[in-house]
Amino acid sequence: MQKITREQLIDQASELLANGTVSTVLGWGAGEFGYDVTPTLFKTAEEMQNGFVFNDFCGANFSKYLVSKTKTLEGKLLVFLKPCDTYSFNQLLTEHRFDREKVYVVGIPCEGMADIAKVKEISGEGISSIASDGDRIVVTTLYADAPVKIDARNVLAERCIHCKSKKHVAYDTLLGEEGDVVASARFDEVTRLESMTPDERFAFWQNELSKCIRCNACRDACPACTCETCVFDNPKSGVENKSPSNSFEEQMFHIIRAFHVAGRCTDCGECARVCPQNIPLHLLNRKFIKDINTFYGEYQAGAEVGSRSPLTDYTTEDLEPSEIFVGRNEHA
Amino acid sequence: MNNMGDTLIPSVGVITDVRIDTPDIKTFRVVTSDGKKAFDHRPGQCAMLSIPGVGEAMFSITSSPTNTEYMEFSIKKCGCVTEWLHQAEVGQQITIRGPYGTPFPVDDVFAGKDLLFIAGGVGLAPLRSVINYCRHYRDRYGNIDIVYGSRSKADLLDYREIIEEWANDAGVKVHLTIDNPQPDWDGHVGFVPSYVKELGFDTDKTAVLCGPPIMIKFTLEALVALGFDKRQVYTTLELRMKCGVGKCGRCNVGAKYVCKDGPVFRCDELEELPSEY
């Protein structure tokens, strides 16, 4: 489904490696099954030829790696960023989390990434090969006689269904076009929940959050969660805890995590992507984004470097907390 | 449910005495709530002390097993639990469980041998138990040399006991040193490893080392330079521990669990382990 090929990316990176612009490339490393790609550092063009892959499963947002990798690597790091990743990139720069000079961004177009779970829902388990063929993903399994052909648009990852922007807001070199912000229905699900009764909403979230195993994948993958020490790991913070002991702890963790990234979250969707329990965590972040947009005017974190998060800003005419529910499309 | 206890469930202990040893080390005397020694132990073993709500931590038992009245713990202030303990007063209850870990081989390997104890700073605490054990059964062992160093005179743990009791025992020699000269000190000045080299011990001794990692590293080198084999040298490790029984995984290094298989290790055994201690 991707318009850009693995070879184009390797060519681009090889050139920059060869002329000394960058010393290392952060790209996708091939896995066992075609869909299990791992963020990998490549030092040479040869390494890339052997292990680099680019396909419909390259969803991981590399921006967060820059915080740690730029501190330890010699020379510049080439990073491939999809449009949505560039927002995280800018947000991290806004927060001074890494040195821009240490990074060389190659912006790459993205046609939306596939969700392997959705593929498996159609193909079944036991995948023995998986490949893209135009707009289709062709899967062979141990259990089906013939390959299954799946329309890639039907197995898009949640965040790609609701892609908010095809625009690259940060790059040194761009492969393809700069792209535009696109209209998306990403708040529809939030609106649907808002229109439920409080009891329904409570039941919905209790069911979802009770699945949490507190593996911290959402936090550790989140490009906004780059704290040196997370409050939940810091015994001195008073909220430190590592187990979802009960429903309160589950709520506490997810409320505070969402609050801490509110105004900073770019809606990259990593939290929901990595959740091993399939909790729709992005809805919490989107709720904050939607509220901030409604209460204080449209704001997209990471759209530009140096912008001020609405929660560190104010106007004298802001909405009162008592007014936030006025006029909301309420349940009966 | 059978009515057995569980090693994770502690019993209540009472602090019956608090002694200020150095500016940051205090020694606590602990008995059970009915005034008895909480459990028997062997030299080098540890106990888990805790304050509910603050946390639990592993401490080596400083007092000798030959003391049947109570246990003592010399504790340096360096974390939540220790800070809390340093504020505790006599009569304060705590919880205690143990004993944990493998003791020094006092009854086999050490028996009949000349012993060389080398400690730095609070590293004397774990050795005090074995030193006093060996002093108690004086006739079972050969000569005993004790090399002990600290930052300053004030930082020497159990200073009184060392000079008033240990140094006066027959066949026991005490060699004290401090890092920097100070007016009221006429003893040796210098770091432990170099002092050990200076003293130049015979290599027929069995050595026990305890102190900060850097001191252990250099003292071991000094001993090896003197001709000691690593199989002659014992030391104790300190890692983060939670359960004390080799299950929680925290103190796992290689195939060893420091809380269960240690904390006493022979230095050649340590070489087998990955360098993660």
């Binding site: 990998t40 699945k211 195993i213 | 449910m1 709500g53 919880t95």
Partner: protein, 342 residues
Amino acid sequence: MLKCSLDNVQTLFAEIAKEAKLYLPIDNADGTAVFGEWSRGVAWSNALNTAKSPKDFFFPQTEDLMRFRTEGKKIEVIDVRRESDDFVVFGVRACDVKSFDVLDRVFLSEPCDSFYAEKRAHGIIVSLACTRPAETCFCGIFGIHAAEPAGDVSAWKTEDALYLRANTEKGTALVARLSSVLEECSDDAVNAQKESIAKIMNKLPLKDLSTEAFGGGKTQDLFHSPAWDALSSACLGCGTCTFVCPTCQCYDIKDFNTGNGVIRYRCWDSCMYSEFTKMAHGNNRLTQKERFRQRFMHKLVYYPENNDGLFGCVGCGRCLAKCPISMNIVKVMKQIGGNKGE
């Protein structure tokens, strides 16, 4: 061999549930299956594998160990252990059943962990042969046969029937209680299934993964491998692999002050976490590489060294499916074990 028609399986469940709580895989709204309590009307999932392993039945994610009441300088220790009721965990796959062996060797070895032991004593495991292993499955390399699950009772499900075979005293007692819904039958159907599963296992992509390079005594060979750097490079340091793993058993003991007393509880912990080995004055594993290495070295070298060669992995494939960055024990074994080319 005993048999129960699939049409009758709900009756079977009802019979089991008469005297013990019954837990079995249930479909979740998000398309995954989880172990849940059966009650009338609850459907048994067809899913191959549950999202979480069944280890929490015996080693729950959070478990109260004791309570304390304090007043002034006084402390009272309150034992909160309660006798467990009998319960049945139904539909445990061969790999997960094997994981209980791994856990038993930790928790039941001296000194025995009474919290675990109590639940283990009261839990009856009804396993289930795995008819459709996924590409991520590699139980075979650890000597586990997907079609020969252990457990107190082994079970096989065919198109039309459920076959049961009691393996232990507890298992025998359970099936005895279910005689009204079970009938004696031959082994033919089960044997046929075993054969067909064996064929599939021979086709699995990871079937040739070699454990040769691993096991006790391999510490010095593997610990210093240069491959750890690259393997751990992308690791986020989250606990996903640990928490979905059926054999990971590291735990933390923590105190919670309720305002009216202190609860001391234990909860799952992960050696992947940066503060796992952090002490007041240092940390013996400072980098993610060291923590990453610890997890795999433990499963592949340290654990077998202490447990007669038994590996600390059962090949269930959960970490392969769930790792946010798709790094996993298979990739580690291939790189570190040098059997990349098979």
